[in-house]
C-alpha cells in the first residue's frame, strides 16, 4: 500500500455512506483511504478539518475568464486562483472572449493556458460563429477537443430555426447546448429588471418575459428534437415553473441558478451602483424565493456562479452604459450554504455545487482529449481522484473586494459577512488552498 502524501483530519466526509466523521488519506492524485483514524507519516502534510465538511471539489458551469481579449479584467490563471479559493476544482470557461471560442484554435489556446492552474479549466464552445447568431460554429471540431457544452452566453440564439438546427446537429455529437435565455426584442435597451424599481428609477427594464419566452421556446425545441438543453442562470419564477413542467414531462432539460439570484433583488439598484448590474438582472423577492424553491425540489440542477469580472473603469460609468456582470467564485459556496442549508443537508448542497454540475459538463470521469481533465464531483471514497473541497460551516466569510484573487473588484457583496468559509481545496492531491490561503 502506498504511503499517504496528504492527510485531511477529523472532518465530516461526504461519502457513499452519507456524512461520516473520518480522516482522508491522499496518495499522489488519488484518495488512498477514508477511515476513522489515519496515521500521517512524518513529514506528510496534515490538514485540520475539525468541524468541517469534506466534500468533492466544486464544479462551476459558468465562469467568465476573459482570456483571450480582456486580460485587464481577468486571466485564466487569476480566475482559476479565485476558483480554488472558492472551493472549486473545475470551472467551465464561457466562450464570450475576444475572439470568441468559436474555433478549435482559440479553444486549444484556452485549454492550454488552463494547464497547471489551481483549478482545472474546461471550455464551453460557441454555438454560432462569433456568437453572432447567424451561422453554426464548428461544433464537431470543438467536440473533438473534449468540449461538451456549447453556448453563445452573453446572448441567446435569437433565431429559433438556427437553434433547432444546432440541436439536431449536436445530438449526434453527444454534447449539450446551453442557452442564455433572453429575447433581444423584449429586452432591448434594458439595464435592470423591469418592475417597480425600474419604473421609479427611470431605467429601461428587462421584463421577466424576455427570459421566459426563450425558455418556453427552447423547451419546445427540446421536445421537437429530443436533444438536451441546459438553461443558464435561471432568474424568474416563471422560468423555474417552465423548467419544472418540462422535467415532469420527461424532457432532457437541465438548469442552473446563480448565487446572486438566490440572494439579491432589484431594490439594490436604488443608488444606481453598476456593481449591481448583471444579466439576467436582479429580480424580485418572489423570483428569489422561486429560484431557491427550484434548487430545493430538484427543478434547478446546479448552482453556477456566472463569475463575470469587469475592470474598474468599465464599471465606473453611468448605470445604463456599464457592462453587466459580477464576481462570484469566491462567494458562491458561503452564499449557497447560507441560503440552502436551512432546507437541504450538506450532501444535497454539495450535489448542487459539485456532483450535478460535473454531470452536466461531463467532468465526472477522466478525459484525455483536449488538455485532459480528471474526475470531479464524485463522492469522497478510496480510489477516487483527490479533488476536494473542505468547507467550515462554523467559520464566516467576510467579503473584502481588495482581498479577492480576481483581477477585478466588482463584487456586489463588499463588506458583507456570510456563514461558512472554504478552508482547504485539494486539486489532484495537491493542497492548492490551505486555511483560506492560496498556495500558489
Amino acid at each position: 500500500m502506498p504511503e499517504p502524501t496528504l492527510v485531511i483530519r477529523g472532518g465530516d466526509v461526504v461519502g457513499p455512506a452519507g456524512l461520516t466523521r473520518a480522516d482522508v488519506a491522499v496518495a499522489g492524485e488519488a484518495i488512498l483511504a477514508v477511515a476513522e483514524s489515519i496515521e500521517a507519516p512524518r513529514g506528510v502534510r496534515v490538514l485540520d478539518a475539525a468541524g468541517c465538511l469534506v466534500g468533492p471539489g466544486l464544479v462551476d458551469l459558468h465562469t467568465h475568464l476573459r482570456q483571450p481579449g480582456r486580460e485587464e479584467a481577468e486571466t485564466i490563471e487569476t480566475g482559476a486562483r479565485a476558483a480554488a479559493l472558492g472551493g472549486y476544482t473545475a470551472i467551465v470557461a464561457m466562450p464570450n472572449t475576444e475572439p470568441a471560442i468559436d474555433a478549435a484554435g482559440v479553444a486549444a489556446e484556452v485549454l492550454a493556458l488552463g494547464v497547471g492552474c489551481t483549478a482545472e479549466v474546461a471550455v464551453a464552445g460557441a454555438i454560432t460563429v462569433g456568437r453572432a447568431g447567424h451561422a453554426l460554429a464548428p461544433l464537431a471540431e470543438l467536440a473533438a477537443l473534449g468540449i461538451t457544452l456549447f453556448t453563445d452566453d452573453g446572448a441567446g440564439v435569437q433565431d429559433g430555426a438556427l437553434m433547432r438546427r444546432a440541436l439536431d446537429y449536436a445530438k449526434g455529437l453527444g454534447v449539450t447546448l446551453a442557452q442564455h435565455c433572453e429575447d433581444n426584442c423584449l429586452a432591448a435597451g434594458g439595464a435592470m429588471h423591469e418592475g417597480s424599481w425600474s419604473s421609479r428609477l427611470g431605467i429601461a427594464g428587462i421584463p421577466a418575459a424576455a427570459e421566459e419566452a426563450m425558455v418556453a421556446r427552447d423547451i419546445a425545441l427540446s421536445r421537437l428534437t429530443g436533444a438536451p438543453v441546459h438553461f443558464l442562470h435561471m432568474s424568474t419564477a416563471g422560468s423555474v415553473d417552465l423548467i419544472r413542467r418540462a422535467k415532469e414531462e420527461g424532457l432532457p432539460v437541465t438548469a442552473e441558478a446563480a448565487p446572486h439570484h438566490m440572494l439579491l433583488t432589484h431594490a439594490l439598484v436604488a443608488d444606481y451602483d453598476p456593481v449591481f448590474k448583471v444579466n439576467p438582472p436582479l429580480r424580485t423577492d418572489e423570483d428569489v424565493a422561486a429560484v431557491i424553491a427550484g434548487l430545493c425540489d430538484g427543478t434547478i440542477n446546479a448552482v453556477a456562479t456566472d463569475h463575470a469580472p469587469h475592470a474598474p473603469e468599465a464599471k465606473d460609468v453611468p448605470f445604463d452604459q456599464a457592462p453587466p456582470g459580477m464576481l462570484g467564485l469566491q462567494t458562491a459556496f458561503p452564499i449557497a450554504w447560507e441560503v440552502l442549508s436551512p432546507h437541504l443537508g450538506p450532501e444535497r448542497v454539495f450535489a448542487l455545487l459539485s456532483t450535478q454540475p460535473a454531470v452536466i459538463a461531463k467532468l465526472t470521469a477522466t478525459d484525455p482529449r483536449g488538455a485532459g481533465h480528471s474526475a470531479h464531483g464524485g463522492l469522497v471514497e478510496a480510489g477516487a481522484t483527490a479533488n476536494l473541497c473542505v468547507f467550515d460551516p462554523g467559520a464566516t466569510t467576510v467579503v473584502d473586494p481588495a482581498g479577492l484573487a480576481s483581477r477585478s473588484r466588482n463584487t456586489p457583496y463588499a463588506g458583507r459577512t456570510f456563514t461558512g468559509a472554504v478552508r482547504h481545496t485539494v486539486l489532484r492531491g495537491e493542497a492548492v488552498v490551505i486555511d483560506g490561503a492560496a498556495q500558489r
Binding site: 419604473s199 421609479r200 443608488d271 473603469e313 445604463d320 452604459q321
Partner: protein
C-alpha cells in the same frame, strides 16, 4: 434643505424643503423685478454646467440664475470637450472639481448619472438638471412655484402667505408620455409630498411598466379627468427617445390624449395648464390652447430662474437674511 449637499431628487427635499425653496425663490423673484436684477450673494463661487444632452431653457436658466447671484459660471460644451476624446464621466467630473468648482449642474441621458457624480466629488455640490427618464427636480419645483403664484394672484395674496397649504387636496392631472418623462417623476414626488392628488393619463404604452409604490391614480377617461383637474401638466411626446413607436401615429395620439381646443373647452374655469417645454404645438397641445391665459408656459420659464437661484443659494450657503436690503451690484 439647509445642510443638504446635493439636489439629486425631489425626494431629497420633503415638504418642508420644497416649502423652503419656494420661500427663498419668492425673494429672488423680487430681485428679478429690480432694474438691476443682480445680487452679490455668491460672489467668488464658481458654478459649472455640464450638459451631456441637448438643452436650451434649462441650461440658460441655470446660467442666468448663477450670474444673477454673482457666481462665476463655467459651461462645459460637451461637443468640443475631452468627452469626445473618450474621457469618462468620472474623469471629466474630477477634472472639473480639481479646478475648484463649487457646484456642478449636470444633465445626462443616463438615469442616475448625477447620483454617481455625487459619490465621486469631494466637496462640490451636485444639482440634477435632468437625468434620463428619472428626474428633473428643478422643473417640478418651478412648476409648483408657478402654480402657487397663480393661486395667490387669484386670491390677491402674496404667494408666501399661502405657504404650502395651497397644494393640499389640489387635483393635478399629468397627461402624456409619463414612461419616458423625468418631469413627470419629479412632479409626482413634489405634488404628492405637498399633499396634492395626482392622476396620470396616458395610453398604456406610455405609462411606466409598474406603478407599484406610486401614490397616484390612473385615469381611464381623459375627458372626465380633465373636467376634474385643478392643474393639468402636459408632457411632450419624446419622439427623439423613440416614443413615436409607442403610439400608432401622432394623429392618433393627439386625438386620444392631446389637449385639443375641444377638450380645453371642458376644463373648469380655474384650471391651470403647465408644460415643461419645449411644446410641440398640434401634438400634445393645440396651438390656440397654448396661447390661452390659463396656459402658464412663459411664467414657468421666467420663474425657473428664481427657483434655480434659490437652489444654488441654499446649497452654496449664501446668507438670506437682509437680502432685501442688499443693493444690486453696480
Amino acid at each position: 434643505m439647509t445642510g443638504t449637499q446635493h439636489l439629486l431628487s425631489v425626494a431629497d427635499l420633503g415638504p418642508e424643503g420644497i416649502g423652503e425653496v419656494l420661500h427663498v425663490a419668492e425673494a429672488f423673484a423680487e430681485v428679478e423685478r429690480r432694474s438691476m436684477p443682480k445680487v452679490p450673494t455668491l460672489r467668488g463661487k464658481v458654478v459649472a454646467t455640464l450638459f451631456f444632452e441637448e438643452s436650451t431653457r434649462t441650461r440658460l436658466s441655470f446660467e442666468t440664475a448663477a450670474k444673477r447671484l454673482s457666481a462665476d459660471v463655467l459651461s462645459l460644451a460637451v461637443a468640443s470637450s475631452s468627452v469626445k476624446k473618450g474621457e469618462s464621466l468620472r474623469d471629466t467630473v474630477e477634472t472639473v472639481e480639481a479646478m475648484g468648482i463649487d457646484a456642478i449642474i449636470i444633465r445626462h441621458s443616463s438615469a442616475g448619472a448625477p447620483h454617481q457624480v455625487a459619490r465621486w466629488v469631494e466637496r462640490a455640490h451636485v444639482v440634477n438638471a435632468g437625468d434620463g427618464w428619472h428626474e428633473h427636480p428643478t422643473q417640478a419645483l418651478l412648476d409648483c412655484f408657478t402654480v402657487r403664484q397663480v393661486l395667490a394672484e387669484r386670491k390677491g395674496a402674496a404667494p408666501d402667505e399661502l405657504g404650502i397649504s395651497c397644494f393640499e387636496d389640489l387635483r393635478v392631472l399629468i397627461v402624456g408620455d409619463v414612461r419616458h418623462s423625468r418631469v413627470a417623476r419629479s412632479e409626482v414626488l413634489a405634488y404628492t409630498a405637498l399633499g396634492a392628488h395626482v392622476t396620470l393619463a396616458a395610453p398604456g404604452s406610455l405609462l411606466p411598466p409598474s406603478l407599484e409604490g406610486w401614490p397616484v391614480e390612473v385615469a381611464t377617461d381623459l375627458d372626465a379627468a380633465l373636467a376634474d383637474a385643478d392643474v393639468v401638466s402636459l408632457l411632450r411626446l419624446q419622439a427623439e427617445r423613440g416614443s413615436g413607436s409607442f403610439v400608432p401615429s401622432l394623429r392618433e395620439y393627439t386625438a386620444g390624449w392631446g389637449l385639443t381646443a375641444r377638450r380645453a373647452e371642458r376644463l373648469a374655469e380655474h384650471t391651470i395648464v403647465t408644460h415643461p417645454g419645449p411644446m410641440v404645438r398640434g401634438v400634445e397641445i393645440a396651438s390656440d390652447v397654448a396661447d390661452l391665459p390659463r396656459t402658464v408656459v412663459t411664467q414657468q420659464v421666467a420663474n425657473g430662474i428664481a427657483v434655480r437661484m434659490a437652489i444654488l443659494f441654499l446649497l452654496l450657503g449664501g446668507e438670506l437674511q437682509g437680502l432685501a436690503e442688499v443693493p444690486a451690484v453696480a
